[in-house]
């Protein structure tokens, strides 16, 4: 990492899909190496849009996206991948007509000679992929597709990994495995930002988290602090988060 700032720094980001309609209205977050940062918030708060804007998929109207101190807002996704960023979208995250192996090959598209070596590492992290390699991605279940999408992102050995609802569609056992794996990826040195609806689990595994509301970062703190913050519980977690955390 260069410079003294955090690895990823988003400052006062304003972004949206349609002219004149801003989804993000001044959103700021930071995330550092070996840090797992969670983004939670109500439906329509702009959580997915934030990840897409960082990854150059939604036009940024003002504000900054700094990667190791360097401005990368509005850069195209392929250039961001070359600089170490990877993104796993919420849905439509595999190429259905391609096999799992071909999907993973897209992850080393920028340097194909690395495929075999990277595949070994990714299979070590996601062992279920091994027996799926020959299957057509379109024939896989929703949860299996999530694994393939995560595998493809890891194939590029990112330094910043953006995950949009990695637990969606996974069985409880698989969700917990996924969360613990994400934690391992973070501990291996990667800067990980995840958007999650399973807020209780998200706050349990995150180092820090932001609560987004109406396109702004409304609250921010360690996972531990936010789980117990009465305002966050009332606005966002509901009694679900409180009661289950109390029981745990």
């Amino acid at each position: 990492m260069m410079g003294n700032g955090p690895h990823l720094e988003v400052v006062d980001l304003v972004a949206g899909y349609l002219p004149g309609i801003d989804i993000l209205r001044g959103c700021s977050i930071t995330a550092d190496d070996r840090e797992l940062v969670g983004i939670i918030g109500p439906n329509g708060a702009g959580k997915s849009t934030l990840l897409k804007a960082i990854f150059g998929l939604v036009p940024v109207r003002s504000g900054s996206v700094l990667l190791s101190g360097k401005e990368v807002a509005n850069q195209q996704a392929d250039r961001l991948v070359a600089q170490g960023m990877a993104f796993v979208p919420q849905s439509d995250n595999v190429f259905a007509p391609l096999t799992v192996r071909e999907n993973l090959q897209l992850g080393t598209h920028l340097n194909r000679s690395l495929f075999d070596q990277r595949l070994q590492k990714v299979e070590a992290m996601l062992p279920e992929l091994t027996e799926m390699l020959g299957a057509r991605a379109g024939a896989l279940s929703g949860g299996q597709r999530q694994l393939v999408a995560m595998g493809r992102a890891l194939m590029s050995e990112p330094s910043v990994l953006l995950l949009d609802e990695p637990s969606a569609g996974l069985s409880p056992a698989r969700q917990d495995e996924a969360f613990l794996r994400i934690r391992e990826i973070r501990t291996a040195g990667v800067c990980v930002v995840i958007v999650e609806q399973n807020a209780r689990r998200c706050l349990q595994i995150c180092d820090r988290a932001y609560v987004l509301d109406q396109g702004r970062d409304a609250y921010h703190g360690t996972g531990e602090d936010l789980i117990h913050d009465p305002k966050v519980v009332e606005l966002y977690l509901g009694d679900l988060g409180a009661s289950e955390d109390g029981a745990a």
């Binding site: 702009g46 024939a139 966002y236 745990a248």
Partner: protein, 275 residues
């Protein structure tokens, strides 16, 4: 309810339903019953065949074999819109809303359409009142699903979670007798989950039976009267939620060892010993 294996009068009974993709058997269900007037959860590991079973039963996919009856009526081979018109209405894990229509237009598409009959369509007074009552019904549902502020926005402008809500609300517009929800709460924020659960829990008293696929065990425990567990295409366990979710085989295959553990403890243990 005591441990009666099934209600005497199930609303949906399927037998011998089989579906394979190439060499992979996705569904191989000997018999499954959905109790009438109750809420049934269909759970199981990823790839267990839950969604494929939904697809077969609702005409979105063709089963290779099998028969099933809905309210006593044989449904196998029926095309999807006829299944829906018969009263079996489903939603999708990956939402399907019509982006270039507004939220309200999406809702009205879900309604039973008196104007579909050509003769009636010609004379406005014959359908005007029905239309107005559908609009009112839609507005009530939009309030309930916290989408009323989005009434006139294009559905394409909704977030992933909001599309999920719209799809569920639209399914209710058809006034189904059996509502089939595929992961209804995935992507819906926890504060809203509770109010939606309250709404779903009321449906049986309004004559709507519900069967839903869900991975959130809090949701299953809160509203399900009956739980069916699938694995590798087969029904492997069923029963009331308490005992079924405590069944060691179900914990092993589906819930996982950590399901009631705070992950912070595991992380502390692993990373504490590493550093």
């Amino acid at each position: 309810m005591t441990a009666v294996r099934h209600a005497e009068d199930p609303i949906l009974v399927a037998e011998g339903v089989h579906r394979h993709f190439g060499g992979v058997t996705a569904v191989d269900v000997e018999r499954i019953e959905v109790p009438r007037g109750q809420i049934t959860a269909l759970i199981g590991p990823n790839g267990a065949g839950k969604t494929t079973l939904f697809n077969c039963l609702t005409g979105f996919d063709a089963a290779d074999a099998g028969t099933w009856t809905f309210d006593g009526r044989a449904m196998a081979g029926l095309v999807r819109h006829k299944v829906a018109r018969a009263g079996m209405v489903r939603t999708f894990q990956l939402t399907r809303v019509l982006g270039k229509l507004t939220v309200m237009e999406n809702m009205l598409l879900g309604a039973a359409q008196p104007g579909e009959k050509f003769s009636r369509a010609l004379v406005k007074p014959w359908w005007k009142a029905a239309r107005e009552s559908e609009i009112q019904h839609a507005e009530e549902l939009l309030v309930r699903f916290k989408l009323d502020a989005k009434r006139d926005d294009y559905a394409a402008s909704l977030s992933g979670g909001q599309r999920k809500l719209l799809e569920m609300a639209r399914a209710l517009m058809a006034r189904p007798r059996l509502l089939m929800l595929d992961e209804p709460m995935a992507g819906v924020n926890p504060a809203l989950v509770q109010s939606l659960l309250d709404h779903i829990a009321e449906l049986p008293s309004q004559g709507v039976s519900v069967v839903f696929v869900e991975h959130d065990m809090h949701v299953v425990k809160t509203i399900a009267d009956w739980v069916v567990v699938m694995a590798e295409g087969k029904v492997v366990a069923e029963g009331e939620p308490g005992p079924t979710l405590a069944n060691p085989a179900v914990i092993d295959a589906y819930l996982g060892a950590h399901h009631d553990v705070d992950l912070r403890a595991i992380i502390r243990e692993r990373e504490g010993s590493a550093s």
